[in-house]
């Protein structure tokens, strides 16, 4: 069944069954493999993308519910959040990196809503994103740093 989706600013058509989660539409049908499968149950956040600006778990969203919504994935994050991407690199946040697309998408949604988050704000917004490698302390540090850079217009 055909579905029209708005992904990273482009309108695309996909022909998949209604119950196909957005995660698999992105990965299998649109070639956007930056969004990861980690649990399929909404527990880990590896599949996080933005839906109308909010970080959501793409493994939990059937494609049929996405008409008219703006979907953004890790592949378009740098355009809007260059400071986040560069602080992630410069702080060597990633270890294996598998969770990091999801971490970055959650971090970006946080900064959009709250440009100067506290540690508690970060912990609250990022609690849905598991990092099995344990990069949490660097994630906190990088978000603070990116927030600072965005505030001073440093990297925008």
């Amino acid at each position: 069944m055909g579905h029209k989706l708005n992904v990273n600013g482009d309108v695309v058509d996909v022909d998949v069954s209604d119950d196909t989660p957005l995660l698999w539409v992105l990965r299998d049908h649109l070639g956007l493999t930056g969004t990861k499968y980690g649990c399929g149950g909404g527990y880990c956040g590896a599949c996080s993308v933005h839906l109308d600006g909010a970080a959501i778990r793409s493994c939990q969203l059937p494609v049929s519910t996405l008409q008219g919504k703006a979907i953004r994935t890790i592949e378009s994050l740098e355009q809007r959040h260059p400071a986040l991407v560069s602080t992630w690199i410069n702080n060597n946040v990633a270890q294996c990196g598998y969770c990091q697309s999801g971490q970055l998408m959650s971090a970006a949604a946080l900064l959009d809503a709250n440009p100067k988050p506290t540690d508690a704000d970060i912990d609250g917004a990022m609690t849905g994103n598991i990092c099995r490698c344990g990069t949490y302390v660097r994630i906190r540090a990088a978000i603070h740093q990116a927030a600072g850079q965005q505030a001073t217009g440093g990297a925008e």
Binding site: S76, L77, I89, G97, C99, T135
Partner: protein, 742 residues
């Protein structure tokens, strides 16, 4: 001949190049900071290199250097670290170095990325590779200029004759250098001359990862590839008896294939068997797989119950086990009989699942005469042999290329998932990706062994043991390799059991094995987890029995100087446990944690120290109980890993080890009933979340000049005992069983 630089097919509609063009219109991605232009030539096969003096290093005439990394990247930063070593001795310009991932091939020597030994094993040979190339470039220039090679230097991608001011870029000399014989014993740099070794270089994959462009196992694809999800028997060794509702005509369904069951004992790395649903896309495969109604054949493992195993383990440490040969000192029984202050305690730890963030996944393409596999494999070389056997080919027809590993922790040293993909590709005659679901990962892992540990000691007024009996019981990893194996192997006991660094005059060590009804395997730091837990908590119990400071007490058990004489195999020269280095990390963590500073009411500090994988780690955790749950506010870690290549990576590995160690301390618990794992996903097998991660300070002991040691694993063992000890300090309650739920 160089092989393709990339893990990605240029034709794949799933390749990042495609998605970038299609969705972003962003031209070429620039890599920021010090990250390398890794794999810039995605999809292109480089021409034969002009200058290829080693398996690990090649150079083109434009000066591009390609370093071949023969170990797998799973977050430990090895692609960066090995490249740093080669590039340093070559004195290359970092921005002109590319990283090539090696396929599995015996020509590289050991490729098993396991045991925290990639740097230990390869530091010298990779320095030599870089140094030889650098000398050859100098020789080529000296020849051209007709000057002595001693008067020619090579720095930052340039060869210079200082007297005349003449210079060549490395690339200009590549062709001539390529005609020279590779020198033996090329001079190595002095430590002060290092430009990358010992420096915090940004990881080579950091840019790709932060942009969602890294190629993990599931991100690799081939034209016409199908995706398979396999439903496996809940118990080890069970096969498919019947499928009650085999679907037909489902759109996107390619095939339903029955795979043979693994042996019920000694399964090694054989695929578990089951019903494979092969489909055009992942969701169809998942949906169909989840709807199948399968009846399984029985196996002796069908009655396996982890609670019953724990009862047996507990019982076995109440009686004498098999003595560790050469471990007996003095007369333990006589001291026990004589009486005195006696302590004894039993510690228990459960089964654990690896749960790497990326569940197992593999892509295989078996055609008439060739087999190509791309997968997150820790050991592509041994996997290649098994894949060849599965495909019915000789290994020379098989190409195995590791993708990035989305975490592994030991799970991906077992290539059973790649063998599934090979078998299915052979059957459906197209490339096949096998995607494990998280539920498959948790339920069908090679579990970290459950264990019981028993310690009994008589202590003097200062809390020092005059006699110490240690017992360890657990299902050995060797049970996976041999149907008859039972007894723990010496190498398992050398992980923190038979090599405790404490001075005791009367001592005995005994172990007991048991056959489990499940595959067990090595998980990040392996048996050190339960051995370090029990030994460090028991030592803490000795200190508290006499009211001594735990760190003071511990130092009093360790000789000032010398090295440990352990029973069995001696440690390799230079890697013996050095008491002074052990004491040093303890002293440093005392300082780093401000150990003597009083904490507020209800907050406790716990200390643990452990030597493993040739490294020394001392850890202090600051913990309390909040809302009935343990809460860790601060972690302090001191690491002495000898010579280190990338200090920032070492720090990151300790930070990660604290989180990994806390996950297993607070949550890790895999139970088995009727042969099946009870848990299935992160809701019932939870991981530490960001709000629970303590602020972490890591100190790296400057030990350049010493042999390089392990970093990926040794941070884990001290975490659980430090937590238990901290909670005792905070609350007075002793926790001897993991996980600690309080």
């Amino acid at each position: 001949m160089m092989k393709a630089i990339t893990n990605l097919s240029p034709h794949s509609p799933h390749s990042p190049e495609f998605s970038r063009r299609r969705f972003l219109g962003v031209s070429g991605v620039l890599v920021l900071g010090a990250a390398l232009p890794v794999g810039r030539a995605l999809g292109q096969t480089p021409a034969a290199a002009t200058f290829e003096p080693s398996l690990f290093l090649a150079m083109d005439s434009d000066g591009t250097v390609r370093v071949t990394v023969h170990r797998s990247e799973m977050g430990q930063g090895i692609r960066t670290a090995l490249t740093q070593v080669v590039a340093d001795e070559l004195d290359a310009d970092w921005s002109r170095v590319e990283v090539v991932q090696a396929q599995g091939d015996v020509k590289y020597g050991d490729q098993n990325t396991d045991g925290s030994r990639s740097i230990t094993q390869n530091y010298d040979r990779l320095r030599a590779a870089g140094a030889s190339a650098r000398l050859m470039l100098r020789q080529a220039a000296a020849k051209r200029w007709k000057v002595k090679v001693e008067n020619v230097t090579a720095t930052n991608h340039e060869v210079v004759h200082a007297a005349s001011g003449r210079r060549f870029g490395y690339g200009e000399l590549a062709a001539e250098a390529g005609r020279l014989a590779v020198p033996e014993n090329a001079p190595l740099k002095k430590e002060t001359e290092h430009r990358y070794i010992g420096k915090p270089v940004t990881h080579v994959d950091a840019g790709d990862i932060a942009r969602g462009q890294g190629t993990f196992g599931a991100d690799f694809s081939l034209p016409n590839m199908a995706t398979a999800v396999v439903v496996r028997c809940p118990w080890l060794g069970g096969g498919v008896k019947s499928i009650a509702n085999k679907p037909t005509g489902e759109p996107g369904l390619v095939a339903i294939e029955t795979l043979d069951a693994a042996p019920s004992a000694g399964p090694l790395f054989a695929p578990l068997g089951g019903v494979a649903v092969v489909a055009e896309d992942t969701w169809t495969a998942i949906r169909v797989a989840q709807g199948l109604d399968i009846e399984w054949t029985p196996s002796p493992n069908q009655t396996f119950d982890s609670d019953e195993l724990r009862v047996s383990l507990r019982a076995s440490v109440t009686k004498a086990g098999t003595p560790v040969p050469g471990s007996e000192k003095g007369d333990v029984d006589a001291v026990f009989a004589a009486g005195g202050t006696e302590l004894s305690a039993t510690y228990e730890t459960p089964f654990l699942s690896h749960a790497p963030m990326e569940p197992p996944v593999a892509v295989a393409d078996v055609t008439g005469e060739r087999c190509v596999v791309h997968a997150p494999l820790q050991d592509p070389q041994s996997a290649r042999d098994l894949i060849a056997a599965q495909a019915g080919m000789t290994p020379d027809k098989v190409e195995v290329t590791p993708t990035l590993l989305g975490g592994a922790f030991g799970r991906k040293s077992k290539p059973d998932f790649a063998l599934e993909a090979v078998e299915l590709s052979k059957r459906v005659k197209r490339p096949v990706r096998v995607q494990w679901l998280r539920e498959d990962d948790i339920r069908h892992d090679y579990l970290h062994a459950s264990s019981a540990q028993h310690h009994r000691a008589v202590i003097d007024d200062e809390g020092k043991p005059t006699a110490w009996l240690q017992r360890s019981a657990f299902p050995s990893i060797t049970t996976v390799f041999a149907a008859q194996a039972v007894q723990p192997a010496p190498w398992e006991l050398e992980m923190g059991f038979s090599n405790l660094p404490y001075t005791v005059e009367n001592q005995r060590m005994e172990s007991t094995g048991i056959r489990p009804g499940v595959r067990v395997g090595w998980l990040r730091s392996v048996c050190n987890i339960f051995h370090a837990f029990s030994a460090n908590v028991f030592a803490d119990e000795m200190a508290s029995a006499v009211g001594r400071d735990p760190i003071e007490h511990r130092l009093s058990l360790i000789p000032e100087t010398g090295t440990l004489k352990q029973p069995g195999q001696p440690a390799p020269p230079g890697h013996e446990l050095d008491f002074a280095r052990l004491r040093h990390v303890i002293e440093r963590v005392r300082k780093l944690s401000d150990w003597d500073k009083p904490r507020s009411e209800g907050v406790g500090l716990g200390f643990a120290v452990h030597h493993s994988f040739r490294s020394y780690v001392a850890t202090v955790l600051e913990a309390s109980v909040a809302n009935g749950r343990p809460s860790v506010s601060n972690a302090y870690v001191v690491l002495d890993c000898g010579t280190y290549v990338n200090p920032d990576t070492c720090v990151a590995q300790m930070e990660g080890a604290v989180v990994f160690g806390l996950s297993l301390s607070l949550y890790g618990d895999i139970a088995m009933k009727e042969g099946a794992v009870v848990q299935s996903n992160f809701h019932d097998y939870p991981m530490l979340r960001i709000g629970e991660a303590p602020a972490t300070q890591v100190e790296l002991v400057p030990s350049q000049g010493r042999l390089p040691a392990g970093v990926g694993e040794p941070g884990v063992p001290p975490v659980a005992p430090a937590l238990s000890n901290a909670l005792f300090a905070a609350t007075g309650t002793r926790h001897r069983t993991l996980p600690i739920r309080t």
